[in-house]
Symmetry: C2
Subunit: 513 residues, 2 copies
């Protein structure tokens, strides 16, 4: 028996210019000096060690020496940043032991339930990037078919504790949340200035678009900076009572951001995970009173009142357990709210409403007033139906617009200028009739095909809503794009399905389209 | 409104030397001329089109022009092979629409059940590489918590229909299958020659190791070629009544190979999926009579008779529906069968048993005779308990060894020579005692750490089994490796946990270890 060589070779860290999303990925050579590539297959997990640091990563193998040589290990951007060792450092690599909490995920898949402790460990490992995307998917899917109320509470608590936790020196801190799915519908940007003008603290954080053509953060970014730090947020709210910033930058519920990045490609969307996601953020944000807007309509996320009721119960249950006063209302989700879809067009709608422009979309104004009324009535002075009148006064008097300008000034100018796309085309009615339905999913998809939200100036301006009469050839809406290839794609998409359904014309005896 | 440029730029195909396992992966530049990288995130899905060909692939984005330039698209090996267009061809790329069958997977995750048609579509899409690894995981996990008997049958049928389907011109075609987990246990290589010598057709296909230190295909490969085509297989079976080849090469149930490649990193292992996997292969292989070996033991895959009974019912149910006579037996799974673990050492055990070598492991001989007896009794001439005697006669007379030589000659010499590793160390008893337990999982892990099955000569030779007495310092087993770093890793692993439990010594009044 030969005495073996006891030195285990190490690999030199280099950077590889591969964008692997959020997941840690490392690349080694098939002829690696330290790791036998045959032992691994695509997407095996390895552990990288150097000094006292350790990093779990997914492994890719290359035959290209110019990418990664036999004595090197290539780290993609997030892996390099998180490992925090400089390029050129020597590190050892070994097959990774999966995070312990994964055993609980496997048990859940087999039909058991999570203990509070197990959920906390899963979220802890997630937030430390110890899960591969595939393992995150296992957690999500394993939990998707059923989740007990205990699991829902534990998940909400674990997610809320994982990131920044804001505290406000105020007895009432209000917030509103819409579950999304309705094009336009930029009510927060009208509601926040009204409520802040009244004097109630409303520190609003919003998301960017995930699958929609714009999130509130994307639309607000047309008017002001939204990448605001926690400290800046506090001083903005101290000065203005409210803000309209991007939640991602203040790191509320980082676990949620990770979970969403895997839910999206799988198009998973379960009620319990939605409630845990929303309530964990509100809990971390220090909200005391929350209004939840559930739009219901044939192409909305909720298609029936019964579904909305089940979701409402879940919100109220979790709110009750965590001491947040939750009020849940259902709203009309049959069609877009406002005329614009896409950041620039939606920002124009919002400013028109705040400016009391006679051409401002009446539906956006009315819905915003209704939501603001609910929030204002959390003020003990205003109980008993006085909220609506107060909201309307603040809007009509220009106080809300003034407050919005104050918030915009406090957040600072937008980090890049955006203007409406200059390549546009109209989609026209193919015959006379009355609009009987508008497909929200179709218009969202079309606005994204047109380039929103990446191009803030891309989107759709609606000329007609449900109940409007049109004549053949009259424009239903105009699509704006910033790029010829997106123009073509959008034109083809609109031609294939324009999203509008016409009922019989009131003038002619036409058939149903 | 400007008239847009209607030409949509195309990208030039090049090869990228990234090993992405089985998944189709393509790489584009962040400054790509045809695809706006900002629209995508890590691991988005895209569709590649050229002439009438289409390919779904997972997208990686690079900032490294030398890897993939702005007017290029890089295809990893499997994508390049499947797209089958030469390097330099122009192709268009667009965001991919997920395969339609994925909607059924999402419904399953929500708690619905699959229709037969839906399962068939999923398997069809899988086999055409239209699913990403993440989507495959969604299917597996969504099905893991429960699967109806209808779903189990539909899955088995769909998987069996997806690849090669063998037909044999014989009324009885026998097969045996072990669910694995027990180190050594290379019974097929003794059973097949016995049964073939008797004259019953036994066209055995085996797997390579997935998580174990050797599969039957890996061990047989020490003695003969196992990468045999369907046509060659047929002529070998015509000449010898049997064969011992690798199933992967004849493409029985390709869907199963794909599912396993995702189950493995997630360590998913559900009964229904196991039964569908095994039965689909037997159905595709044209077997009429199947013996299933279920080892039960504290560190085996099945830890109780009750679990084995549930699994037995599933096998019998599926066999009955598809007209395969299935016999399920439970065997002693408390410890390894035979003395060798790892391809070369297991092959030595097998040949020693066939040669009637007095030093051959008695447990491997006895278990093989018992299994062969069951198979032989499928011969109508031999019913009524005559199987065991006949099996023993064929083994003792040398007829089985002669048949094995015939099979080896027909399959041809191994494609590479393998010899026992020459870096070895002994693991010794720490005190006097009697072996009371051997941990199968631990020994499998240790043999893999030592390099098996990649190094066929790596592995473990056991000197002691349960019930044997040992004295302090006496070797329990010897570990063979082919590489100094694997020697060190194995030595460290064996030191941390040797897998043996000693009971009180029969000679001394020792405590329990």
């Amino acid at each position: 028996m030969t005495a073996p060589d006891t030195s285990r070779p190490q690999l030199r860290i280099r950077s590889v210019a591969l964008d692997t999303g959020r997941e840690n990925v490392v690349v080694i050579s098939r002829r690696s000096r330290a790791l036998r590539a045959e032992v691994f297959r695509g997407f095996s997990r390895v552990e990288l060690r150097c000094n006292s640091r350790a990093l779990l990563a997914t492994l890719l193998i290359t035959d290209d020496d110019s990418l990664v040589g036999p004595d090197e290990i290539g780290l993609s951007e997030p892996a390099l940043r998180r490992f925090a060792e400089p390029v050129g450092t020597l590190a050892s690599v070994s097959p990774a032991t999966p995070p312990e909490s994964l055993e609980a995920v496997r048990a859940k898949i087999r039909g058991e339930t999570f203990s509070d402790k197990a959920i906390a460990s899963v979220i802890e490992d997630l937030c430390h990037y110890r899960y591969s995307d595939m393992e995150i998917a296992a957690f999500l899917i394993g939990s998707a078919s059923f989740m007990t109320s205990g699991e829902l509470l534990a998940l909400t608590r674990a997610m809320a504790s994982a990131g920044t936790q804001l505290k406000w020196n105020a007895p009432i801190v209000v917030d509103k949340h819409c579950i999304g799915g309705i094009p336009g519908n930029r009510t927060s940007m009208v509601v926040v200035p009204i409520v802040a003008a009244h004097g109630l603290p409303v520190p609003k954080t919003s998301s960017r678009a995930i699958t929609s053509p714009a999130g509130t953060a994307d639309t607000m970014e047309v008017l002001a900076r939204v990448n605001v730090s926690v400290e800046e947020m506090k001083s903005i709210v101290a000065a203005c009572n409210g803000c309209l910033i991007w939640g991602g930058h203040v790191n509320l519920s980082p676990a949620d951001d990770i979970l969403i990045s895997v839910e999206r490609p799988l198009s998973l969307d379960t009620r319990e995970q939605m409630v845990a996601s929303i309530m964990s953020k509100k809990l971390a944000a220090g909200s005391t009173h929350l209004l939840v807007d559930l739009p219901v309509g044939p192409t909305a996320k909720l298609t029936s009142g019964a579904e909305a009721m089940r979701l409402r119960k879940l919100f109220e249950f979790v709110g009750g357990r965590f001491g947040i006063a939750v009020e849940v209302i259902t709203t009309d989700g049959r069609q877009p709210i406002g005329n614009g879809i896409g950041p620039v067009l939606e920002a124009r709608d919002v400013m028109a409403v705040l400016a009391n422009d006679p051409a401002a979309p009446a539906d956006l104004r009315e819905k915003s007033l209704r939501l603001a009324a609910h929030l204002l009535e959390y003020d003990p002075q205003l109980r008993g139906g006085a909220g609506y009148g107060r909201a309307r006064d603040l809007l009509d008097s220009g106080a809300a617009m003034k407050q919005m300008q104050k918030i915009i000034d406090a957040q600072g100018p937008p980090e890049c200028q955006s203007r409406l796309g200059d390549l546009a085309f109209d989609v026209k009615a193919e015959r006379d009739g009355v609009i009987s339905a508008i497909d929200c999913l179709q218009l969202n998809r079309l606005a994204r095909t047109a380039g929103a939200p990446i191009n803030k100036g891309a989107g759709i301006r609606l000329f007609k809503k449900i109940g409007d009469s049109v004549q053949q050839g009259e424009p239903l809406y105009r699509v704006f794009t910033c790029d010829p290839s997106e123009h073509d794609l959008a034109a083809a998409a609109a031609k294939a399905a324009d999203g509008y359904t016409l009922g019989p014309s009131p003038f002619l005896d036409g058939g149903t389209r």
